[in-house]
Symmetry: C2
Subunit: 469 residues, 2 copies
């Protein structure tokens, strides 16, 4: 079935012609995704301006069995926001639902629409002397709706939790055009099944999140950031334990040396914070609700004790905000830097924290046995057991030949993750990229329950088919 001109006109009449794109050039930015793995085609990109318009689109789509692909900032890394290649899927962009509806400062929460850009929300919260803690490298363009649909994580999960833990309530348009009004500001509400957490992380396959109530936190009164060199992942884990015991820890990122080497080589203005070269580095952030002195004091005593105990080889302390940002930029630019070093096969995995050193050892051996000379750009949120285990091609290997082994490499790495009772998607979701792979590792009973839940919400299968489930 192709989308008829009549139907295109009907859809367009809901949002107005201006917001119904059919011109290939206008649609282009909605059809490419950041990793360039998927190139979709679509007859129509709709940009509704209200929840009612989203609901009306879904109702018409449901009645006409038209597939809808919800799209936020189009920053997702597993193809969950992409149309397929057959050119019949309508993209529904939430970007015009970009109002912050209300700051509730007494209630420490904010009501936002799905299309609000994460960084915009974070800045607005700061202007109200509050913290909205979710933070990702794509904060400047990812949107709250996508963050919710993918249960986004990022660098502050250690202290504040992922998107599921940051959300109090949701407004959701369902495939049949009804709207679930769940914009609750309550901290406790035991009145039935947890529909909210079902939508969070469902990757647009059950309905479209149009607005949310999100938690706000006090702005920390002090922040301190350090860059430490460690000999092994095991030592990084030991430092994590020591840093946690000290209190105030809000970020703990592990970075392999090769990733830093790429960053310094390819990202203009980047430089190593330390002269000490080590196999691994840790970026640690401490925040205090009391004072700058408290944050700095906690960090200094943790680092001093760690140095004395031999846990760390060396450490640099950021002496001002610019240096703190520079340390964080080193971590956040890691993916971009890697692009300059050739093809890279990605994994977003999580493991029981204590198993990480053993996993790293076993996986390195297996991956090198499969393709000798690969460069392992391992980094991630060690405090959450979440690694971005990215495998860069050997020097001189043909990029296409390397990338052709993406699936095989994934399967090898995920098999080892599974042995350690880990997850093949820690924070990016399943999307198109890992949908087939998931069937190997998820209990068939769980997949069956998921499929039957999907049928409850979307019996006609119009919501983002081919993704997740």
């Amino acid at each position: 079935m192709t989308l008829s001109p009549t139907l295109i006109t009907q859809f367009a009449s809901i949002v107005g012609d201006k917001y119904a794109l059919t011109d290939p050039a206008a649609m282009a930015s909605h059809l490419h995704e950041p990793r360039d793995l998927y190139h979709g085609r679509s007859p129509l990109v709709l940009k509704p301006g209200s929840t009612a318009e989203v609901a009306a689109i879904l109702k018409l789509a449901n009645e006409t069995r038209t597939v809808i692909v919800p799209q936020g900032g189009n920053t997702g890394l597993v193809g969950g926001q992409t149309a397929d290649q057959f050119g019949e899927e309508v993209i529904l962009s939430l970007s015009r639902l970009n109002r912050i509806r209300e700051f509730d400062l007494d209630g420490n929460c904010v009501v936002v629409e799905a299309g609000v850009v994460l960084e915009t929300l974070a800045r607005a919260a700061a202007e109200h002397d509050r913290l909205f803690p979710l933070w990702l490298a794509s904060a400047g363009s990812c949107q709250i709706g996508g963050n919710l649909a993918s249960n986004a994580g990022g660098t502050q999960v250690l202290a504040y939790g992922n998107m599921r833990e940051l959300c109090l309530g949701l407004e959701v348009a369902l495939p049949d055009g009804q709207v679930l009004n769940g914009l609750s500001r309550l901290k406790k509400d035991n009145t039935g099944y947890d529909l909210r957490d079902l939508f969070i992380g469902s990757e647009g396959t059950l309905g479209i999140i149009t607005a949310a109530v999100l938690k706000l936190f006090p702005q920390p009164k002090g922040r301190a950031v350090a860059w430490a060199a460690v000999e092994s992942a095991q030592q990084a884990l030991a430092l994590l334990g020591q840093a946690r015991a000290g209190g105030n820890l809000t970020g703990f990122e592990l970075v392999a040396h090769i990733g830093m080497a790429f960053t310094v080589e390819y990202m203009p203005g980047s430089r190593m914070p330390l002269e000490t070269i080590a196999p691994w580095y840790v970026l640690a952030e401490f925040s205090s609700s009391r004072s700058q002195e408290d944050a700095s004091g906690t960090m200094t005593s943790v680092l001093e004790a760690a140095f004395k105990a031999g846990t760390i080889l060396d450490a640099a302390i950021a002496s001002n905000k610019a240096q703190e940002d520079a340390f964080w930029a080193l971590r956040e630019n890691m993916s971009d830097a890697q692009k300059h070093a050739g093809g890279s096969i990605k994994h977003d995995i999580s493991l029981p924290v204590a198993s990480i050193p053993a996993f790293i050892g076993k996986a390195a051996a297996a991956v090198n046995a499969m393709i000798p000379g690969v460069r392992l750009v391992t980094f991630g949120h060690l405090g959450d057991g979440n690694l971005h285990y990215n495998v860069t091609q050997p020097v001189g290997m043909d990029k296409a030949a390397f990338l052709a082994r993406w699936g095989e490499m994934n399967h090898l790495v995920h098999g080892i993750v599974h042995e350690f009772n880990g997850s093949i998607s820690a924070e990016h979701g399943i999307g198109r990229l890992k949908r087939a792979e998931l069937t190997h590792y998820k209990q068939p009973l769980a997949l069956d329950l998921m499929r039957r839940i999907k049928a409850v919400f979307d019996p006609n299968g119009i919501m983002n088919p081919g993704k997740l489930i």
Copy 2:
């Protein structure tokens, strides 16, 4: 349909005759619940000793359309764990699934079976120098499975979250006898719909939780507890804001004077911590990950500032562990004390925190207009917006005549809660008690989705019918 002797024998053969109770005296403790609102009848109480036995019972029940009522410590306050009056529902007690399977100290989690008593787990965690923070007045008899099925809250939610936030993974026996193996120890796992949070809070209507992985926390190095007198709920809220800003706040309970008066009058050994008589009191607890001095110091400076600012009238600081426990006992004995003052109609409600003073004012007027002279024993977890709004009968009124107005009173109070966008069940759940009431306040669409989800898991309706949905 009554349960045939043949079927009783079949069920009994799964668990062994010793653990299949049919004798009324032996079953008695399973048929009464703490508030004495429901008196159930049952032909059979089964006490399986393993997950496999639970699954086998469900499979047989499903095939024979036998209703199963899961029961933990039988401490629930909404009748969710009770059999109905027709004598055909089989009670499945989880009490023999009482092993702590494993403490994972590196991973800061513990694998426990559903029948482990909460206090037993808390003590075992303390022996491993860890904190399992969930705490309720019924901790000595409630069980982890029931805590999960009802998404229990309690006194430490402010700092650590409710049961949903304390759980990493679940093992669940489904009505068809299959077992969902979700005992994950991962902090991050975005591989599909959130089945875990669907079971948590589902009150035994979707399946039976047989085991769980729960989070552990460091034991605080210091704790400080104070009892403060305040003039109004508004002042209590102001104190909450000041205490939060000081950091380290782990408990914040509001208590109406009348509740304290009952406690002192009826609970032997109870005494008021302060000579100052005030309309309201606050129990505040501060914990520090650093030291006793830090906890005490934070608390003292909060209280001094609050006294200077006129937020509090007076305060008593517990000077040792025994006094801290005595302060907490005053709060925890409030429900028991109330029983001695006559009939009491209960409400477990939550509100947007900032609305609580306005709610208290409006509800008091309405409730007194309905039954003049009622005594309002309002107490609860103010930091979470959760009040136990308990209405004690007027002095001299006939108890039965007062209790006969339970439904009418509930409806009045819940109506006001609804006006303030609150919840009619903050932490106790819906059970039998609020099932009909829920239909007035929950969006019909949400109820419809819940019913359809129920049908996915339990198409034959054998799991705890007449509860929740």
